[in-house]
Symmetry: C2
Subunit: 339 residues, 2 copies
């Protein structure tokens, strides 16, 4: 048995009805709305086929049908109707732009903006940065034997940490040390730099000793750059979906959001742009009835992060994919250095 055109149209009508109503769709209503001009009995026959093929699920015998994950998958890949209009996208774009003014905290601001604009839970994977190339290093005196280390990389992303230094060093001394460090480290990746710093710390090199906490520094750099980071925003949005009227369901969802390990796996950058994972495709048990739409964004040259939204599988996929595409564009734009 294959999915002919009529079955496809019926399936589409069911999916779209269910996305709006969140109630099982019956043959009667369907015969009116799907526009095929056939009776409910015919629809019933088709629906029985679609159920047998695994596209529809019957909660119980006298209820209508609910789309399965397989149905959504078909819906997303073979059908893709009604995305957002150009105007809708533009107005969302403006709203998004106004919310990511500062590049520094793109993760938290981005997650907040994305969740607010989509009404889903937003995820932002900030990529590991140990492959970024060092452009320059700067030391700024904070007083009290501490200095702020600012690392400028080729992607414009800035890492800053406060480190301990000898309190004898004044502003200009620190400036000079910064210049010296820049000279030595320029062009290295952050990982290479870290290793070089560990090397200095091990040797009792005269230059090394000017920074009393140089091993500390290397460790800090490692900590901040070696791991990906996942930021979650708008988790509470799911409470507004009737799917999560049961608190235990909501709890399971939120607990899954705390498991950064599996989230990272889920958000691992994909080659192929915007990517939809439906239900079991997410690989996360608590997301069995959820869908996740991911989109990459580029930071500088080639380093990619991921943004995502997560919500009930009953999701207006086309619209959300348009949204995610726009977010991805905007972030990449905002984070690229123009020079």
């Amino acid at each position: 048995m294959d999915v002919d055109d009529r079955k496809l149209r019926i399936l589409q009508a069911i999916v779209e009805d269910y996305i709006l109503s969140n109630t099982p769709v019956g043959s009667r209503t369907l015969s009116k709305t799907c526009g095929l001009g056939v009776s409910s009995a015919t629809i019933r026959n088709e629906m029985a086929d679609l159920t047998e093929m695994g596209y529809l699920i019957q909660p119980h015998v006298s209820a209508g049908r609910v789309p399965s994950a397989k149905a959504y998958r078909l819906y997303v890949t073979r059908l893709r109707p009604r995305g957002m209009t150009e105007q809708e996208i533009e107005s969302a774009r403006r709203a998004f732009r106004s919310r990511i003014r500062d590049m520094e905290s793109v993760d938290s601001q981005g997650a907040a903006a994305i969740s607010d604009l989509t009404h889903y839970t937003a995820l932002v994977l900030t990529p590991r940065q140990s492959d970024l190339k060092v452009r320059s290093l700067h030391l700024i005196p904070l007083g009290g034997g501490r200095a702020l280390l600012v690392i400028v990389t080729d992607s414009g992303v800035i890492r800053d940490t406060s480190i301990r230094v000898s309190s004898r060093l004044d502003a200009s001394a620190l400036y000079t040390i910064g210049q010296m460090l820049t000279q030595r480290m320029q062009g290295l990746t952050l990982r290479q730099m870290r290793e070089m710093l560990y090397g200095y710390a091990a040797s009792s090199d005269a230059d090394a000793r000017v920074l009393s906490g140089i091993a500390d520094l290397a460790a800090q750099v490692e900590k901040q750059t070696e791991t990906d980071r996942v930021t979650v925003g708008g988790a509470h949005n799911i409470l507004y979906y009737p799917e999560y009227a049961d608190v235990t369901a909501a709890r399971a969802f939120m607990d899954a959001l705390e498991d950064t390990g599996s989230l990272m796996h889920l958000l691992r950058p994909q080659e192929n742009g915007i990517c939809v994972r439906i239900g079991p495709e997410t690989g996360i048990d608590a997301f069995r009835d959820c869908s996740v739409i991911t989109a990459p964004y580029r930071v500088g040259r080639g380093h990619t992060g991921t943004i995502a939204i997560a919500g009930p599988s009953r999701m207006p996929y086309a619209r959300m994919m348009d949204m995610m595409g726009m977010f991805s564009q905007e972030l990449t734009d905002a984070l690229s250095i123009k020079d």
Copy 2:
């Protein structure tokens, strides 16, 4: 009628039983647990009195009694038993310390740590910073006509923003400008500095023009320093309390957390250290059945922020107050500059 010693003991037993069980407390169980050696009938008489006085609430005629906000208030002010042991505090302290390594993002890290350690929702009010005094200013080249502005203040808090500069300026030129700016601005408050910057932008002063986006800069400084910020962490924790088994309740709570205006009012620093607001005392309608414990923390000299936890009024007050005291100490410690 006044609250004599026996009434007090009964009230205490009820509050403590209810905090643990979250079910209305009956006279029968109470006569066994409160250790007064009187029968349930006697207890019933006392409970009737306490109900009349407004300390207890009867959900319905055949249920036990539930403490009112007034009862919790009495419990917190007149009785205060069983806080945390020295060991418990020390072990929590160690856990907390290990989680606020970086001073930079004390708000988000602090909120996360506090909510994890208390299992309540954590709030952090980062104080307005426009009264902080400028210690030094630094400009770091980012390439592409942008520079990072770092402002070091007397409390060691650093604000950094990326601003637009003339692309002709190289690292050393920016360093010199930074020194110059430091000379002029040192000792001013951030607010005064902002006004001076606006002044520069208005005049066509030669010095002003080196920074092409000087008005932009002033606006940024204003935006980042003029407003208090509230950071929320662990909002999902409330889903674990049976009080919020109903999603609408959980939703109301989370919505209240989005209303930064009233939260700020709630978190406005208090003179008197750790402060407990019970139910209506919070002044927030959605927190009618919640309690909020706030504690101040000091940033540098005199500028205070606030940390808080929010959760069901049924809360182990003494333990939580001990916790908050410890957090407050630790944060103040971590944020004070030793020089």
